[in-house]
Structure formats: structure tokens, C-alpha cells
Amino acid sequence: MDLQSTETNTTLIITVNEPRIDASAAIRFKDSMRALTEKGPPQAVLDLSKVTFVDSSGLGAIVASMKQLRPGQRLDLAGLTPDVAKVFRLTRMDSVFVIHDSIKNMTQQATG
């Protein structure tokens, strides 16, 4: 699963470089996320701007990734494309995560 991570001094940004988080990718995604967040900073953000398809398995894997965090560690989402945003909205999982329009807006807010 192609996940790329960048760390600022406060935030771990994890970019998903694949277009689909689906049944086929769910377990690999969860495992990769655990490895990346295990020792990371308290604030993590998942950049989904390249992801155009998430099904219920993918949604479950994203939720599981959040549940894998340490106490006090947080996973936000950023850059949800329209179809992906819809899946979160329909299932009401959009209320479970803090969702940012984009990574760029997030980091601007942090320094502005």
C-alpha cells in the first residue's frame, strides 16, 4: 500500500498515493497505518486527495486505523474527494473525524 509520510514538528502527514482504499487494500492499509502512526507525533493527518474510491471495507480500515492510535493521539482526514466524502456522510462517519478541506489549508491555519 503506497503511503508516504512527512513529519513537521507537530504533525504526521500521511499521503495515500493510491486511488482506491477498498476490500482488496483494506488489510494492507491498516497494517501500513499502524506502522506509521505507532511512534509518530500526537497529531496525524491522512491526506486522501488522491483517493477517488473508498468502499465500506476501506471505510472500516480508516476507522480501524484511528482505533489503533495511542491514547491522546489523533487522526484527522484531509482532501476528501466528492465520492469519498459522500461515503463518510452517508454512514455518518464524517462526524467521527475532523475533516480538513486540504493539507495546505491545515498547515496555513497552523502557522497563520
Binding site: R20, D22, A23, S24, T52, F53, D55, S56, S57, L59, G60, A61, V63, A64, M66, K67, P82, D83, K86, V87, L90, T91, R92, M93, S95, V96
Partner: protein
Amino acid sequence: MAHRFSLSETATESGVRSLLSQGRARLVAARVPDAWLGTIELVWAEALNNIAEHAYAGLEPGTVHIDAVIEGTCVSAIIRDRGKPLPGLTVPVAQLPVSNGPSESLPEGGFGWFLINDLCESVTYRRQNDENQLSLIIHPKEHTA
């Protein structure tokens, strides 16, 4: 004028991805608006994943077929497989898993049938001659943001 197509693949995770990809190409060729594709793909993905994960669970993965018809604003598909029948021979009552509790209790699954029922105009299941037949009618225009 109605457009029709039929696709078949083995019901594995990669077979499902292939079916969805082929299905998308056929929908585009049938001039289905881009704005509808996400809804259709999501519904079909959920149904196909169920077949791959449950209908053929413990069995050699068999074939799954999609017979689709696109007419006006209606996209219907019959998805057929020869795996195990749905429990109770009926479409599950799809409740949205609750997501307002503490993080440890957040649901990681159970969304599939909810999404299918929410996005389809109708969902019908029939078991005939050892075959599961799931009939899904979508009016995508009603679900585009």
C-alpha cells in the same frame, strides 16, 4: 434506447476490482454522466464484496455475473453467483452501525448493506436453481450532490 452489458469474473478481491473497472468503462461508453459513476460503482462494489467474502466463503471462489441495463435515468443490474444463499433467503435489514460512542466502540463494518439499501431505488433477492440473484435498481440522479 437502452444500453446493456454483461460481465463475468471469478469472485475474488482482484476479480471484483476487475469487474468494477470493466463496468465503469461500459458505463462511460453508454454515456452515463460522470456524476453518477461513483454511486453506481459503490453499490456494485458492496454487492460484489459481499459475494466474494460471504457467498463463496469456505468454498472455491466461483464466478459472479453482472447483467446491467441503462435506460434513461435508471441503472439496473442483476448480480448472480452460485455461492451460499443469503441467510433467511432475504436481504438483511440494514441498520447503520452506531458511531456516536467512544472511539474503542466505533464500528469498522456493517456499512455495506446499509449503503446498498440507501442508494438503491429497490433491492430484490431471489434464490433460483442454486443461484443467488440480486437485483439492484439505482436512480443515480437522486444521489448526486
